[in-house]
């Protein structure tokens, strides 16, 4: 027997894109149904942003304990730090459960009907759901919102299974490996690789490109590179992976065609994510695509009337806050408001240690766009707060137009710089000039003073350097 439901808005996918769209739609009085096959919160809350940051925090704390074990410069000494990884994972799971449950409560409060199960698209207005309870549900809707997110890319010569895991497996280890090989030096591979290293695991990273964090410029990645080397993570850049066997480990071929094996009892493949476009009838809609992504306009409309798409499904940057912002726009547009998704800047944060933040254009990007611009950096080595936090690595950099000093971009690398992203993004959205930031009083002593000093320096008169 099939149950029939009719609604105004049907959302497929309960990740940050889908659940935010559904909550906002509910708030606006739009009858809304949300279908989710796994857990509410999607990749982000259950196997992505949140659990990775939890593990990174635990790893940071353990690393500090290890640091003090030798008798630290702070005068602190501890004996024999040990880690119960099962407890760490339980703690992390507790956070995930609370957040996923919280999303459920928010959806209920907004009046959204949630169906647990996998959606199959019949046509642009009809979706069949094989619900978890075994019952089939047919949902007819006026608006269909696709928010099915993304999934890890698998390497044919290194299929997931056993000791070869994706980020999902790496975030819920039953035990810690002795030797981990990370394939891919993008942000996910490095965040997790560094965390494992801090937990005491021997870590090697294999990356096909000649550098880590391709996409960030080298000045920005240098402090991360330094930290990797200092912590003993072994980097194999310009190398490709050939396969894996339990006896020898990961087979690697270098740029010069040398072949060698990296011993490993676990392998994390983190070579990217691809939009989830297959297996649930999406193809049948024959939507216009933008490469591997579903193409959308500034209101997140696809090429088919009444069908919308948001989040990782729709392109780069594949980040949770982009998905959420798009979700809000779609709900408000459907509610009849005039809205567009046209941010001036989307921040990107890499939670390595040191952290990396990029907002707006880098000097290279600005030049490539033909803009006559100036840039200036201020190092944390000259920042008092950074010294008191033992965090003097890194810098803040600003990029601005040379003629009118309009700020085009911010980059920062350093411990704790993630929280500077709010000021960076706001300054760009507000159309701030260098003088605006230089003329704003920044609290002493904070890392944020480096933001003001970078602006001052671009104007030719930094005080503290």
């Amino acid at each position: 027997m099939t149950k029939d439901i009719t609604t105004k808005l049907l959302v497929i996918g309960g990740g940050p894109g889908g659940y935010v769209a559904a909550i906002r739609a509910g708030q606006l009085g739009i009858p809304t149904v949300l279908v989710e096959g796994e857990r509410l919160g999607g990749t982000c809350l259950t196997i992505g942003c949140i659990p990775s940051k939890a593990l990174i925090h635990a790893a940071h704390e353990f690393e500090r304990a290890q640091h003090h074990a030798g008798g630290s410069t702070l005068g602190i000494r501890v004996q024999s730090p040990s880690l119960d990884i099962a407890q760490t994972v339980r703690w992390k799971d507790g956070i995930v459960n609370r957040l996923s449950g919280g999303v459920g409560a928010l959806l209920r409060k907004a009046g959204v009907q949630v169906i647990k199960g996998w959606a199959h698209i019949e046509d642009g207005k009809t979706v069949r759901v094989q619900s978890a309870e075994g019952e089939a549900v047919q949902v007819r809707c006026e608006h269909l919102l696709l928010a099915t997110g993304s999934e890890p890319v698998e390497l044919p010569m290194l299929p997931f299974g056993g000791p070869v895991v994706s980020s999902t497996g790496a975030l819920s280890p039953e035990t810690l490996p002795r030797r981990l090989v990370v394939v891919g030096a993008g942000y996910i591979g490095l965040e997790l690789g560094m965390a494992y290293r801090k937990l005491g695991v021997e870590v090697a990273v294999v990356e096909a490109a000649e550098r880590i964090l391709p996409g960030y410029d080298e000045e920005l990645t240098q402090p991360v590179l330094d930290a990797l080397e200092k912590s003993g993570v072994v980097l194999h850049l310009g190398c490709s992976v050939q396969g894996f066997d339990e006896k020898h480990g990961v087979h690697v071929r270098s740029a010069r065609a040398d072949e060698f094996a990296l011993p490993a009892d676990r392998v994390l493949v983190a070579v990217g994510r691809r939009p989830r476009t297959a297996g649930f009838g999406l193809e049948s809609l024959q939507l216009d695509m933008a490469g591997r992504f579903v193409a959308v306009d500034a209101q997140c409309r696809t090429s088919m009337r009444g069908v919308w798409a948001i989040g990782d499904l729709t392109g780069d940057p594949m980040l949770a806050h982009r998905a959420m912002a798009q979700g809000e726009v779609v709900a408000e547009v459907i509610a009849g408001q005039a809205r567009r998704f046209e941010p001036m800047a989307i921040p990107a944060v890499c939670f390595t240690d040191p952290e990396v933040v990029v907002v707006g254009r880098t000097p290279g990007e600005a030049r490539a766009a033909g803009l006559d611009c100036t840039d200036a950096a201020f190092p944390f080595a000259a920042n008092g707060r950074a010294m008191t936090l033992e965090a003097t690595k890194g810098f803040v950099r600003v990029v601005a137009r040379r003629d009118n000093h309009l700020i085009l971009g911010w980059q920062a690398v350093g411990q704790g710089v993630a929280e500077l992203a709010a000021a960076f993004t706001l300054s760009i959205e507000m159309g701030a000039r260098l003088e605006d930031v230089a003329g704003t009083i920044h609290a002493h002593p904070t890392l944020g003073e480096a933001v003001q000093e970078a602006a001052l320096r671009a104007l030719g008169h930094a005080v503290h350097i």
Binding site: A338, R340, E342, N404, H405, L406, E429, G431
Partner: protein, 51 residues
């Protein structure tokens, strides 16, 4: 793209005003709330609002 803060952009959308046609009197040519007010008061080139 016309330089205007999120609040100004949103209000322009609500008013049905294309920011391209609004003079920005702020630093670096930034369109301010007051510029929107002036544009509306002058009748602007704003297309009439929908029903």
């Amino acid at each position: 793209r016309p330089l205007a803060s999120p609040a100004v952009r949103q209000r322009a959308l609500d008013m049905g005003v294309e920011l391209r046609f609004v003079h920005g009197s702020g630093p670096a040519g930034r369109i301010l709330q007051a510029d929107l007010d002036a544009h509306a008061a002058s009748g602007g080139q704003a297309p009439a609002q929908g029903p």
